[in-house]
Point group: C2
DNA sequence: TAACTTTTGACATATAATTAACAAAACTGT
DNA sequence: ACAGTTTTGTTAATTATATGTCAAAAGTTA
């Protein structure tokens, strides 16, 4: 029968692919394509929704209908990281959810800072969903003296002068950058010197960083232009 | 000699590819790949920067170095839409910039509304860069009575009850949705009924819409998870 | 103006991503 | 326990995307 043992059964049913710890993924050096990484968080979101609905298991084919993907793609994507499913049964949702959390590195907490306490910086600081995923905003910085000391949620806006000190005194590895592009270039250099490894960049610029630094860009105005393009396309297609 | 005539020369030097108006792109039915659409706004941004620097012309090879793409890819991407370059010369930056603006459908103004006046909605309403691209926020809505009537920049927060009325009385075709996912599903239905064609969706849900409706998703928490994934990958790769 | 250089646009090739197919494993119902 | 069903993980085929190549066009220089 199926039950609590499910997780164990899955992890032991495929010797070649057995994964004892997360580092094995990377040891194997099997390059994961950008397209797969792009989809991973979406799987996570769907699995979370399924859990909330109290559903216990799902087949790749059923999931493919909901996500508007092919079942084949789902199976291939997941098999990049291990054999999480079981023939004749499908995937245990809770188990797969937890596995993807490990893969995404969100099975533990991440402290982060926000540089720029404009509207966007404040919006991020207040985003309760992030906390739910384990991302904890430890500090928010701005250069504008008129807002320094004000509170955003539970944290106080700090002057830029305190940036180095606060990062170095902590174990913070992640920073969201919400300042204009010219300022961003210099601040990012500073962040990297202070030990920041991952940068969530909202500035309209492609940052040049060393190889070991990770940048995730959110170019909102580019997103808006894509919407505009598709609207034009759609209107002209009639 | 090169000069003001450049634009004319370019548009007349390739009969087969000559494009008299924007609808020809779509008439031709030549399917543009998602990958190209993804890159288009980035080209636009780089061209804008080049213009600001006072540079007049650029070759695909020089642009490829700056953008970290191959020259071949740039030429192929652009040739989806027309022959904007000239042998031995390259691309005229101002001309190409304007052409891409037409392609992206940002050569004219777009009125838009924002649904949800939380931190994110307000951040978008205050984003001066959008106005620069021709996107004009005409109204912002919220259901919270305590903030209705307050001003965000120059516009007043309206109650949700006014949504239908305001959209229908205008020519607004675009809406940014910045409300929780459950509310979003219903509101989007309403927006579509009111005549909205393009939806910039910030809610953590994949919206089901008719074929002629365009959705551009900005799933911030997915973006953050991708950052987290890559940081884990980077740390484990040493 | 003629020789030489640059650079595009088009096409051909190579690489990557997606989809299809199917044997083997595990489940289900009797 | 057995027959039939489901569904995975894997490999093969297909499709899509990116890169390399080159003739022809236009620029540049002497």
């Amino acid at each position: 029968m199926l039950g609590d043992e499910r997780g164990n059964m899955i992890s032991s049913n495929s010797d070649k692919k057995k994964i004892d710890n997360i580092e094995d993924y990377f040891m194997a050096k099997k390059e994961i394509s950008q397209a797969v990484i792009q989809r991973l968080p979406r799987y996570y979101r769907y699995l979370e929704d399924l859990m909330d609905q109290g559903i216990e298991r799902i087949s790749s084919s059923e999931l493919s209908k909901r996500m508007k993907l092919t079942a084949s793609q789902i199976r291939q994507d997941l098999n990049n990281f291990g054999g999480f499913g079981q023939q004749g049964y499908g995937y245990n949702i809770k188990n797969l959810h937890d596995e993807i959390a490990k893969i995404l590195n969100i099975d533990n907490e991440h402290e982060m800072i926000i540089v720029g306490a404009g509207h966007l910086g404040q919006a991020l600081a207040n985003y309760t969903n992030f906390r739910k995923r384990g991302f904890i905003v430890k500090a928010i910085f701005d250069k504008d003296p008129s807002i320094i000391g004000k509170k955003v949620g539970e944290i106080e806006i700090q002057p830029m002068e305190k940036l180095d000190e606060i990062i170095k005194a902590s174990n913070i590895k992640m920073a969201a950058v919400c300042i204009p592009k010219n300022a961003a270039v210099k601040v990012v250099e500073q962040l990297i010197n202070d030990g920041i490894v991952g940068i969530w960049n909202f500035a309209h610029v492609d940052l040049e960083v060393p190889e070991n630094i990770v940048i995730e860009n959110v170019h909102l105005s580019e997103s808006l232009m894509r919407l505009s393009y598709r609207m034009g396309e759609s209107l002209n297609a009639e």
